[in-house]
Amino acid sequence: MFDVPDDTHYLDSHEWARRDDGTVRVGISDFAQDELGDVVFVELPGVGDDVSAGETFGVVESIKAVSDLYAPVSGEVTAVNDDLFDQPELVNDDPYGDGWMLEVALADESELDDLLSAEAYRDQIE
């Protein structure tokens, strides 16, 4: 079955968000990377850009498909995973680890509460 870590929040569009001190790390779920297949390209915002919860922040492309990426939370981008530009396959290999995409300075704590819990997300993809 697909990996759905308990310490992580989810969007129904398959992005995840994980609190890490003052920032939130963002990526796509194991289910999403499996659905996409081989990831070959990731387009992400720059450090200092703002993202808004529910709005697109980038694109992930597999060999067969293009998918928009939606921000789970709002805030300023404080870090971008540059490794993905040369190794987009990290999204497939380690979606919750080395395949992370952004770190966002959380603007509104309550936005995390609006996301799906691991349990609710598991129910959605089963």
Binding site: G37, D38, V40, F41, E43, V59, I63, K64, V66
Partner: protein
């Protein structure tokens, strides 16, 4: 309308394949990973279920005449067991479909040809209607449901298939075919394929499909890898790189002018003779992107000043080269290799240059 299913649909599902609709068929698009499957075919071997391809049989005293008049190539050049790539054109010379025509090893000249997925009924009717109009004596049979079709492709493919038969199939040259007992099943065994690699296409009686599929021990591959492999070679995909309704193209525009034998009589010949004399306004070309991004079907191609001059008809990140590559049509004055153009990827103009397929060296 219900999707048509290849005979091994459930077998593939049990194996964990993902499926896609293609030409009205429910086909495996990916078994493990497109990249993995693609690499297996380039470096070792892979087997594709391409049972969605059609099979039409043509026999009788006028079979040769009928085939000659409905395909652009010269079927009289075929000896029994030979095959040729050909276009099927309308009276205006626009491609209706592309196909491989096999001459069967029967006493009387008879043929089997393979239209693309979802075209078998239309092409069958096209043959029947013209046979009747021209009053030719030939039987035309749509045998699509009687055959499974597998393509075994890659440098190891000849060994893998040869292991399963005592027939001298290694002696077949490219585009030659024979009936051979493969894994105990009488198969039409053809040294043809659509990946750029050596290998065979096997036409297998539907009831024996599983026996043959199981006997050939290599990476199962889906239509996803088939697409990336054929794009790397610059091969056309019916319905995408040409489409009789939405994107009608002559064989000259589509880069398959070599299939047109103007010294034969066929439907569309006069139009194509004129097109040949005039030269084409647009050409089918390869593009490599110099910037990051993935070109996709329908993306605009512009000149360096940003004026739209063409369209991508097929594109992908090449698994072999790890570079973004595309196929599409450009005006003849933008089609020379090395010409700089742009591909518009989600509103951004990405630098690209025109190349002559195949994208891979040594093919």
């Amino acid at each position: 309308m219900a999707l048509r299913k290849p005979p091994l649909r459930e077998r593939h599902a049990e194996r964990g394949a993902k499926f896609t609709e293609f030409g009205g068929w429910d086909m495996p698009v990916e078994f493990d990973s497109i990249r993995e499957e693609h690499t297996a075919v380039r470096e070792a071997a892979g087997i594709f279920d391409v049972s969605h391809m059609g099979e039409i049989e043509v026999a009788g005293p006028d079979a040769t005449a009928l085939m000659q008049r409905l395909t652009t190539n010269d079927v009289t050049a075929l000896s029994p067991g030979d095959s040729q790539y050909a276009a099927i054109t309308d009276a205006e010379g626009a491609i209706i479909d592309d196909t491989v025509v096999y001459r069967l090893p029967t006493d009387d000249a008879s043929y089997l040809f393979v239209p693309n997925a979802g075209h078998d009924e239309e092409i069958h009717d096209w043959w029947i209607d013209h046979r009747d109009e021209w009053d030719l004596d030939a039987t035309v049979r749509n045998a699509t449901d009687e055959y499974a079709m597998f393509a075994v492709q890659g440098p190891d493919a000849p060994d893998l298939v040869a292991e399963q038969t005592d027939a001298p199939i290694r002696n077949l040259s490219k585009f030659e075919a024979q009936y051979a007992d493969v894994a105990g099943v009488d198969c039409w065994t053809a040294r043809t394929g659509y990946t750029g690699e050596d290998g065979y296409e096997l036409l297998v009686p539907t009831s024996e499909a599983e026996t043959v599929w199981d006997a050939v021990d290599c990476q199962p591959c889906g239509l996803g890898a088939r697409d990336t492999l054929r794009i790397e070679m610059g091969y056309l995909l019916s319905g995408q790189d040409f489409d009789h309704e939405s994107n009608p193209r002559t064989p000259y525009e589509a880069g398959i002018g070599f299939t047109v034998k103007l010294d034969t009589e066929f439907l569309g010949r006069d139009a194509l003779e004129a097109a040949h004399a005039e030269g084409v306004a647009e050409k089918f070309v390869g593009l490599t992107l110099l910037d990051r991004g993935v070109p996709r079907t329908g993306y605009d191609v512009t000149d360096e000043d940003g004026h739209v001059v063409g369209t991508v008809t097929s594109g992908t990140m090449s698994p072999t080269l790890n570079e973004p590559i595309a196929l599409g049509y450009l005006p003849a004055d933008h089609a020379d290799p090395g010409t700089r153009v742009r591909v518009v990827v989600r509103g951004q103009q990405k630098r690209a240059k025109v190349v002559t397929p195949p994208f891979l060296e040594d093919y």
